[in-house]
Symmetry: none
Subunit: 141 residues, 4 copies
């Protein structure tokens, strides 16, 4: 089971609509596949230019480590040196904070991740979860 | 004048439709702003996973150097060491081949770039130009 | 609305004059465009050689994240792992301290950033704000 | 003997005036010190955003290798692998083409370098030499 472009587009649309509906700041949303590679990305008007790197960093860490951004943030808090080393091992591409959400398929296997950035980390995660739920998949924040 | 997300989405859709209509392989399309930063990206089903880096590399070089991918390719052919060095100066992010197309606004100023990858470089450039033309902007391949 | 070279030169001159008038150490000042790319830079005599990287790092983080250096510093204090990861995502080019100041144009949109380094971070920010005010623009420290 | 900010500013102004007087495209000009670190930089209106990296790459190679861009280009042509390796050793920051010009002081010692980019490499070098001559120093293209 894979996330196709049609599904990725719907995840992004639903995440963006959630952000607008709840009055969040302009969001940027990326969907990565099970290898951590981008399928689709959209940056809302008004967001700062560096949002792709942040959105990808959140989702990339989720896929590569097999845990959502919230779990990564806890790990970073309890063992900062560990997460710093992990980040070094991945060329600086891991951003271990909420807003990176693992996507699981019907059988529970990880099939990708969604990364959202633009508002508070908790709101980012909420928008990502809403996007994933909109296509009938399960998110792990 | 800036490329908003709505315009970027239409550029991508038109480029993808062009690829399908002309029987090209699955395309990946990125739209960058005038600073070389991603606004939107979509990778068609069936494309290989590394397509974001290639699409961005084509469009990024166009923005940073102020010339389309075809001009970059000619430069790379006449002076390989020069283009290799340029790429080093930009952290390896420049892919100097057709398929990276500058986008000019109403007054002729560069407002971004489109990068397409997946088929031959010439077909990639054709799809990018079709995407840009579909929103009434001018592309420079 | 963009910052042209003439405006950038005046921002730098006014920031440097502020530093001299208030007895600050030799300052270095960079002006970046809305994509985080250098328009102009000057390093005062007596400043240490690495000042370009620091000045740019302050201004670059402001543009890419859409927040001034003071806001970045607060974020780094409350969540050190987050800001370290953000820096990794941007290739180590972000210096999240006061002295990186967003520049807003007439309609409030970010049109670039000024980075100042050489004295205390608070004085650096003060000089940057004075430079921006001298050309009738609005700074966000 | 060192290049101060006042001298650097005059070099840049004279190089830019040369470009305008001879109908060159918009130029970007950097002045580096004897350690290869930026003293001053200016990018003319209309130049593409990546010009700082290119200008610095030209001047940086000149300082670090102790030879002008033309000599570097000849070296790159006769031994491409050597120059590629040199570039790797300097983190990709060397751009070995004309337009990087060594600056020698009264006693013949290297005191810095000027890097110009925007037009043809030969015109870039010409503008750099004119800037250096305007302050009574000797350039080595």
């Amino acid at each position: 089971m894979e996330i196709g472009i049609e599904t990725a587009r719907r995840i992004i649309a639903a995440a963006q609509e959630t952000g607008v509906a709840r009055g969040m700041k302009p969001l940027s949303v990326v969907v990565l596949d099970a290898g951590g590679h981008p399928i689709a990305f959209e940056r809302a008007d008004g967001a700062s230019p560096g949002r792709f790197e942040i959105a990808r960093g959140k989702a990339y860490g989720a896929v590569m480590l097999g845990m959502g951004g919230r779990a990564q943030a806890e790990r970073a808090a309890s063992g900062p040196a560990f997460m710093a080393a992990i980040n070094g091992a991945f060329g600086g591409k891991v951003v271990p904070v909420p807003g990176g959400v693992l996507v699981r398929g019907a059988e529970g296997a990880v099939i990708g991740a969604v990364g959202v950035t633009g508002d508070t980390s908790d709101n980012d995660a909420e928008a990502a979860l809403a996007g994933i739920a909109a296509v009938g998949l399960t998110g792990e924040a």
